[in-house]
Assembly symmetry: C2
Homo-oligomer: 121 residues x 2
């Protein structure tokens, strides 16, 4: 465990952030870390299961802390690109899939696109 890894872990949150968001956060908060290191560290975090990676429409992957208690989905604003989190009850959908097919669902990603509260004003 190095200083860089500690900083990257500390900058992770329960809402998804891109590597460049994390990078600029670290630049303005004491410990600049090379983006390559951030990529490598985050991929490592994903492998050992403490972070989640989601590929968004804008071509950026975003990373967030994983927590069963904090399972949620994403509201992505078409205008400003902001990503909100929302907890949703997805059991019904999974049940529906199990009824209709033989597919064994292991994970899922639900993304909703539209206009966020700020951009509506």
């Amino acid at each position: 465990m190095t200083i860089q890894r500690r900083c990257i872990l500390d900058s992770l949150t329960f809402f998804p952030q891109s590597v460049f968001e994390i990078s600029s956060f670290l630049k303005t908060h004491g410990t600049p870390v090379d983006v390559v290191t951030i990529y490598r560290t985050l991929n490592c975090f994903v492998e050992i299961g403490i972070a989640g990676k989601t590929k968004f429409k804008d071509d950026f992957s975003r990373y967030e802390l994983i927590s069963e208690a904090n399972h949620h989905h994403h509201l992505v604003c078409d205008k400003c690109g902001a990503v909100e989190d929302i907890p949703l009850d997805d059991k019904l959908l999974i049940d529906e899939i199990n009824k209709k097919t033989n597919f064994k669902v292991k994970s899922h990603a639900l993304e909703f696109f539209g206009i966020c509260t700020k951009c509506q004003q």
Copy 2:
């Protein structure tokens, strides 16, 4: 409307295909079309609303015909990468979002990952 556009339109289906899948289909079915042309044409189709584009985890965008009557979601196999379609009742989720937030949902993408029927055998 050119021959290439006609061919690309004809090769589109209601399940999502990548540009390279479309390209190799066209190579083996009479009319090879440059991938650049396929990219440009598909983006055009998406703009005028006759095709849908989804970015998948494997870094490929996939395109499919849009049809209100054929609204569905995706089951992506973690092993072989195959994409199945499944119609799901998503009204409850949208209602849930409308109740909980001010976010105006305009579209959504629901993807489920797991093991497909073939790979289970």
